[in-house]
Amino acid sequence: MTKFKFSHILVLASALVLLSLIIRGRPVDFKDGQTIYNTSPTGPYELSNSIARYIFTKTIVTRQDIFLTYREAKLSAPDVVKFNGRYFSIFPPGVSFLSIPLYMIGSAFQLPQLFAYLTTTLFALLNFYLIYWLSRRLGLSVWAGLLASWVFLFATNALVYANTFTQHHLSTAITLVGLHLIFTKLHFWHLILLGLVTGLGLITDVPNLILISPILIYGFSRSFQEPKLNILKWTGFLVGVIPFLLFFLWYNRTLTGSFFRVPQFVGRVSDSEFAAVKVNPEPTSTPSPKKGLSLPYKPRNFPQGLYVLLFSRERSWFYYSPLMIIGIIGLAMALKQPKIRPIAQISASIITLSLASYAMFGDPWGGWSFGPRYLIPASAITSIFVGIALERYHRNYYFTVLFFIGLIYSVYVSSLGALTSAAIPPKQEARLLPDPIPYTYKYNQNLLSQSQVGSAIYNLYLGRFIPATTFHLIFTVLALICPVYFVLARWKANSHETKHS
């Protein structure tokens, strides 16, 4: 098996360079210490969930508070909750809290937004490494491992969300770390770490608990099968998770008055809350939350959700990242290999649970977004199995050709989103707009042809020299060089092995 060499560092450097090209920013976004919140398409504030989390970070740092002022709430709308006359973010606080250090560093340079958003980019890079690491643990060669990582970061919509202020890359990292940990010997400190990532998952996005549940169930079941893995060791897990759990309970209680009522259960403020002219006078009392159990996942939504996530032109996995089909083939192959079967089983559970939960979610589109953003953790895991399929079939020319066709298309689509906008409306909303816009990546193509690019480097420097479409083409080609190199290297290694044998 090939060892890690200097050329591999070059690969990492290439990934870094490409990621730097997608960092968002236009001249207006850098003015006045980044205090102008321009929410137009292609900018860093185009996604409401990004700006809402960012404002929350700013509130924590500048005012040391978790409640928002009217102005902050207005900027964060519609991802804001109003309860007992006070405003707060609808999202769990994980991303906002984790980005505090970089926000503070960025503030020193008058670039708080740029640095805060880098938190996500760093997690994207971490995921790149984690996928490589897991691939190697599954017995893949360095090239196949790097290819799996590359596929995730550049051939899925993970690229688009690598410079947004959203939870997806953090959730992905949590899942991947959990997956890695559960297949170790599970020492006490491993379990503490597992508890920590579970807790972090909880405060980042509650559905992370669903994603990580197969990992925990499998780990716990190992306690009954392996004499050395004493069930008492799981106190380590509790040590890790309890601080986060207590923080989460305190956070909920402070905001909503109940330990177990997360802000999402209270619901967003009404559309008219921040309207210039209010239709109704402001209510004097807050309506009490609905009685009875009402969980966000409704099986009634399943048929539509499954269609949207798997087959629709609006968001589907297979439309935006057809390479994932190869990943599913790889997963099926992995299930047949006894050595890696457990990890394949857990991966299958996470992928299908992710799909099932968001198919039942009322908004499988994820609002205005690019591709199936909720499936980014599932894409990460599936990418590992793309590596397995490629390792198995790399000598098959038909397969390789199909792989490259899928790769070129997927990279082209993902880079469109990353370089322009991550805010594509669902079909229904797109058609109801005063000026209807496309509800697929055709919208991004339109933006590109109008030279509306989000890349800070392009907007500040390169835009003077090359048109936007050329920039996108260059980016796509650059993003394809590494995978081509990986496959060629694998072929070379293969022919080398054949000669020696």
Partner: protein
């Protein structure tokens, strides 16, 4: 698992029986207490039909009518005389509840015949038993669960016959299918499919003569119910096909819908399939249906399962073909919210494949190997949320769709004004059975189409027979309006109240002395 249960000296089947019974009773009480048990308009009509057999101005078997097949109404007869059993709906629910338990047991037995392990068998039973749509329908006086039980029993016995070649099993299969033909027309289609299978199997395995004899034997028992139904229609309505072409037939109702332009599925196979698939998905919560489909494919591809067993298992798909064909041919109507406007109607038909889904899913769990826990976990995940969110499309169908009728206002008027006053109420049972039921008044207070001489007299001279008339004004589909509004006696009535589903007219008090308030015709034939 089997060993652990064996240690307890209790058979798994008995545990399943106890669990199914407990679930059944719990959910009946649950839906009884929240008053959803009688939300379906049809449930109230079924109970009224059963009640009219034993009580009313003209009780007797003729009250079974021709609108619906008679078995479930006949089975109500021993209990429906009791007011509590009638008005609680228990007289109808109790057979649904027994059918629920029986279907669960049959799923278990079917999977046992497919050599599925105990755990997977129990998962199959659980998929059926924790489906809230099934649980709701088993708590009501609807016919679905009885149909599921008899059809599944017929399929199960057919499978046993395929595997053992025991003629007694074939006769039992025919018997259960015969019962299903007396519940809903889905059973007729099953009989047709099963007959083809029986003929083909015997012909290919033995010879033509044996096939002929076996088919005749099977059809003699299986077709007995249909023959009796035709005979019944001939004797009572003087037309063997009255149920199919009569004024109250499904065909007549569908014709009205077609005239109104809402029978979109007629002649459109793709739309029929789409509508039914959506109903199926909503009733099964989608994932079990998807996994069940995979299970079916695995079953058909499994070399260890004999072709005969595979063919016998395919009878479980008869409801799928029947419902799509019925929609396509315009014999059935099904509205799915979002596809057929903003309403539901008959969406419960999607529940017909639940035993099949449970069986195929159980088989998948057995064969899933390394993905067994993934399949079980995913199914449990989806079913948990269906229960936690009380997501039941059948309840929506009953409460807010076209199947519901909030007749409490008009029934309340009758209760307040007629319960302690003498006099008959003239009403069309075909249009307003729900009002009759909800009023809480004895059946003998009502003159309806099934009361023979009372009805004929009342629609000719209403002022001599009916103190109150309940009908939809200006609607000729309402038999009472169609006949009474043209009589001179109708001028002696005044409109006393007006409601969304019906208006109430009361005879002017000056004509009370001439009004007949007691039954006078005695025993009518």
């Amino acid at each position: 698992m089997k060993q652990n249960i064996a240690k307890l000296n209790i058979s798994p089947l008995r545990i399943a029986f106890i669990a199914l019974s407990a679930i059944s009773i719990y959910f009946f009480i649950f839906f009884y207490l929240n008053r959803l048990g009688l939300a379906y308009n049809d449930a109230r009509s079924h109970l009224d039909i059963g009640r009219r057999v034993v009580e009313g101005l003209k009780p007797g078997l003729a009250q079974l009518g021709s609108v619906w097949l008679p078995l479930t109404h006949l089975l109500m007869a021993p209990t429906i005389w009791n007011d509590f059993m009638w008005h609680s709906g228990l007289s109808g629910s109790i057979q649904s509840m027994i059918a629920f338990v029986a279907t669960g047991i049959l799923i278990y037995k079917f999977l046992e015949r497919l050599k599925v392990d105990l755990f997977s068998r129990l998962i199959g039973v659980a998929v059926f038993a924790v489906n809230l749509n099934v649980l709701y329908l088993q708590s009501t006086a609807m016919t679905e669960l009885m149909l599921l039980a008899t059809m599944t029993a017929g399929c199960y016995k057919l499978l046993v016959w395929h595997q053992t070649d025991d003629t007694l099993e074939l006769i039992q299969s025919a018997f259960w299918i015969m019962l299903s033909t007396l519940i809903r027309y889905d059973g007729w289609f099953l009989l047709f499919i099963a007959t083809i299978l029986v003929s083909l199997r015997t012909w290919t395995k033995k010879n033509y003569t044996t096939a002929e004899g076996t088919t005749i034997l099977f059809c003699s028992m299986g077709g007995l119910g249909i023959a009796l139904w035709l005979l019944w229609n001939q004797l009572i309505f003087k037309d063997a096909l009255y149920f199919a072409f009569g004024p109250f037939s499904a065909r007549a109702q569908q014709a009205q819908l077609a005239d109104a332009g809402v029978l979109a599925t007629k002649g459109d196979l793709a739309l029929s399939a789409k509508i039914y698939f959506y109903a199926l998905m909503y009733n099964s919560y989608t994932l079990p249906a998807v996994l069940g489909l995979i299970g079916l494919i695995v079953l058909l591809a499994d070399r260890s399962v004999t072709l005969s067993t595979k063919l016998a298992s395919l009878t479980l798909l008869a409801p799928l073909a029947f419902n799509i064909l019925a929609l396509y041919m315009g014999h059935s109507v099904l509205f799915v919210q979002g596809l057929s406007g903003n309403t539901w109607f008959n969406v419960r038909y999607g529940v017909m494949l639940m035993p099949s889904i449970a069986i195929f899913l159980g088989f998948l769990v057995h064969k899933a190997g390394y993905l067994r826990w993934t399949v079980v976990g995913l199914t449990a995940f989806v079913l948990f949320f269906s229960l936690a969110n009380q997501d039941a499309v059948t309840i929506d169908d009953a409460r807010v769709g076209s199947s519901q009728k909030n007749v409490s206002e008009v029934a309340g008027y009758l209760q307040r004004h007629a319960s302690d006053q003498k006099g008959f109420i003239l009403i069309s049972a075909a249009s307003h059975d729900a009002i009759i039921f909800t009023s809480g008044l004895p059946m003998k207070r009502f003159i309806h189409e099934g009361t023979g001489a009372y009805w004929l007299s009342a629609v000719t001279a209403p002022d001599r027979w009916a103190r109150w008339i309940v009908m939809r004004t200006y609607d000729d589909n309402d038999m009472t309006w169609k006949t009474v509004s043209r009589t001179p006696g109708f001028t002696k009535y005044r409109l006393v109240d007006h409601y969304p589903f019906a208006d109430i007219y009361e005879l002017d008090s000056q004509f009370f002395p001439l009004l007949q308030t007691e039954p006078v015709f005695g025993q009518q034939k």
